[in-house]
Amino acid sequence: MGSDTLFYLFGAIAIGASLAVIGQRNPIYSVLLLIASFGALSGLYILLDAPFVAVIQIIVYAGAIMVLFLFVVMLLNAPHEETEYDERVHPLLRSGPTRFGVALAVALMVELWWALTKGRETGGFPEGSVSSVAAIGRSLFTDYSFQFEVTSVLILVAMVGAVVLARREPRRPRSPGNQ
C-alpha cells in the first residue's frame, strides 16, 4: 500500500470523523469520533515523517484532553443533547447561540481559505526539521523561545482561571438534626 493510499485513507477518516462529531446527538459519541479524528491526524503526521509529533498528538490530545472531556460528559450524565429549538425551523433562522455559531463557522472558512492560499505562496516548512526530537527541542528553546514562554504563561493563566472558576465553597454537611 503506497503512502498516497494511506494519506487518502487517513484524510478521509479525519474529515469524516470530524464531520460526524458535529452531527452527533450523543456527546459521548462525539468525543469518541473526535478521538478517531485525532488518531487519523497522527497517522498523517507519521506519513509526513514526524513520528514525534504524531505520538505527542496521541498522548496530549487523545490520551489526556479527551479523557477529561469524557470525564466531564460522563459526570454531567447527559446522554443526549438537549434540543430546545423547534426542529421544523431551519437552523439558520434560529435565534441566539446558533447565529453566533454560524458567524464563527463563516469566519473559520475564510481563515482556512486565507491560510491555504498563503501557505502555498511560502512553500511550506524546511525539510527534516520536524523529524528529530533533538531538532524540535533545539528550535523550541532557541528560535522560538519567546513564543514558547508566552504560550506557557498563557496556559498557566488559563489554568489559574479554571481553578478559580471551578472552586466551590465547601459544602456544609447536613447535620442529622435539621432534615
Binding site: 450524565n77 446522554p79 443526549h80 438537549e82 442529622p176
Partner: protein, 181 residues
C-alpha cells in the same frame, strides 16, 4: 438507688405527676408513669440531678391482651454517669394506643419507636419518621399483637415478581431515558 427513692426525686422534679413504684423480680427499680406525664418525666429523667438517665437502653412494648389496659410500654434507662438503671413503664389502653414520642430526648428512640409501631401498632405522636421499620411498608396488621395469627399466608406485595410485558418494559426504559434527558 431503689425505686421509692427514685420516685421521690422524680416527684420533686415533676410536681403533680402520677407515679407509682412497682415491685420487680430482677432488682431493677421500676416505676409506672401515666401517658400524659411521659414527656415531662422523660425530660426530668434525662436532666434531673441525681437521675441523669442519658442512655436509653431499650424501648419496647408488651401486649397483655385481653387484659385492659392492654399495652405496657417499657423504657429501660441507664445513667452512664451515675451508673444506675431504671425501668419506666406506661400503660396504654388497647382502644386508643398512642403516646408522645421521646425521640427528641433520646435520639435512639427513633428506630425503637418505629419498631414498636411496626409490630404493635402503637402510635407515637410527633414522631419525625413514622414508617414501618422491619415489615414491608404495605403490610397489614401488627404481628406482635397477641390477636395476630401465628401462621398466616400473606404474600407481601412488594416481593411479588414484577409481571410486565416486553412492550411495557421497553416503554418504561424509554420513559426513564426521557426523564433523564
Amino acid at each position: 438507688m431503689d425505686s421509692t427513692e427514685l420516685v421521690r426525686s422524680l416527684q420533686e422534679a415533676v410536681p403533680g405527676a402520677t407515679l407509682e413504684s412497682a415491685a420487680s423480680l430482677d432488682l431493677h427499680a421500676t416505676i409506672y408513669a401515666t401517658r400524659a406525664d411521659l414527656p415531662a418525666i422523660a425530660r426530668a429523667l434525662r436532666d434531673g440531678a441525681g437521675l441523669r438517665f442519658d442512655f436509653l437502653a431499650e424501648l419496647t412494648a408488651v401486649d397483655f391482651s385481653p387484659r385492659e389496659p392492654r399495652f405496657e410500654l417499657v423504657y429501660i434507662l441507664v445513667s452512664t454517669e451515675l451508673v444506675q438503671r431504671i425501668r419506666v413503664k406506661v400503660r396504654l389502653p388497647g382502644s386508643d394506643a398512642h403516646v408522645a414520642t421521646v425521640s427528641a430526648i433520646w435520639p435512639a428512640a427513633n428506630w425503637l419507636e418505629r419498631e414498636v409501631w411496626d409490630l404493635f401498632g402503637i402510635v407515637f405522636d410527633g414522631h419525625p419518621d413514622p414508617r414501618r421499620l422491619l415489615m414491608p411498608e404495605d403490610w397489614e396488621g401488627f404481628p406482635l399483637r397477641k390477636d395476630y395469627p401465628v401462621q398466616i399466608t400473606m404474600v407481601p406485595r412488594t416481593a411479588e415478581p414484577l409481571q410486565v410485558t416486553e412492550q411495557q418494559f421497553r416503554a418504561s426504559v424509554e420513559q426513564d431515558r426521557l426523564a433523564r434527558k
